[in-house]
């Protein structure tokens, strides 16, 4: 079975953006989201701990 390479194209006012590796982009975005959530939890934890000290 032939694998079809997926690509994503968006036309915006600023120009054409062509993403050739959609899966890689999705994994990267997922990692960024996970790290962001960890940072938010750590920040909230630090502030709450300080308030309740």
């Amino acid at each position: 079975m032939q694998k079809r390479r997926q690509s994503s194209q968006l036309i915006t006012d600023e120009g054409v953006f062509l993403d050739k590796h959609v899966k890689r982009t999705k994994i990267f975005v997922f990692i960024c989201i996970v790290i962001s959530i960890i940072l938010i939890v750590l920040g909230a934890g630090a502030l709450i701990t300080e308030i309740t000290y």
Partner: protein, 243 residues
């Protein structure tokens, strides 16, 4: 393949101008890392959350610096080893490097004298300039008027020294050291006036009055210069979009 990957890394690192989800996600992550990384500076007591914030944000900034160094040739616009040296000495790269320094206090237990290294965390705020259009405008404005602001700053410093020296001679009992006189002069010229040091002799009070009046004029100068430059920058951007 390596060049394609390098190009992609550069696109992600640069603030996103097109709808690139990877670039937007990275911009959001770094902005959040800067803001959360400053939380420890607002706290009095250290806890495990603070340590983990330090570790995670320092690692993120080290990785960010590494990737920016890797793609320095794209950033500087020419393919040469000189591009890497040029990047390392550029202002933003220096701020990036300074913001990594606090990692030393996280991984190595150092004496209390060197905990001042943690103060370098405050340089991380400068990183936000990359990701905020408003801060880009402000930094452009300040860059354009730096000579005029520098001249006013020199004038202010000279005046502070002159009035400090005068008061130090006229009312020596007020001040323990010359630094106290400088402190008084600064607080007077900026019209803050804490009132912790105040003149008691007639001449001392006259000098204080003159300081306050001069301060009103001198402190207002940078405000006018920056405002005029800011309006010019806004007008320029508006006419660019209208064209």
């Amino acid at each position: 393949m390596s060049e394609e990957l390098k190009r992609r890394v550069y696109e992600i690192l640069e603030p996103s101008t097109v709808k690139d989800p990877a670039s937007k996600a990275y911009d959001f992550l770094m902005t959040l890392a800067v803001i959360v990384g400053l939380i420890p500076m607002m706290l009095k007591h250290e806890n495990s959350f603070v340590i983990w914030i330090d570790v995670l944000t320092s690692l993120l900034f080290m990785i960010d610096y590494g990737f920016r160094l890797y793609t320095a040739d794209y950033k500087m616009g020419y393919k040469s080893y000189k591009a890497y040296f040029a990047y390392v000495v550029s202002p933003m790269a220096i701020f990036d490097l300074l913001s990594i320094i606090p990692v030393v206090s996280v991984f190595w237990k150092i004496s209390s004298a060197f905990t001042l290294l943690r103060l370098f965390r405050v340089f991380r705020v400068v990183k936000l300039v990359r990701y905020s259009k408003s801060m880009v405008i402000i930094s452009n404005v300040l860059r354009k008027v730096r000579k005029q602001i520098g001249a006013v700053f020199v004038l202010v410093i000279v005046y502070i020294f002159i009035s400090a020296m005068l008061m130090f001679q006229l009312e020596p009992s007020l001040f323990d050291t010359f630094f106290d006189a400088l402190y008084w002069a600064t607080i007077s010229i900026t019209t803050i006036g804490y009132g912790d040091i105040y003149p008691v002799t007639l001449l001392g009070r006259i000098i204080t009055m003159i300081s306050a009046l001069v301060g009103l004029a001198v402190i207002a100068l940078p405000t006018g210069i920056i405002t005029a430059s800011y309006m010019a920058e806004i007008t320029k951007k508006k006419s660019k979009y209208e064209l």
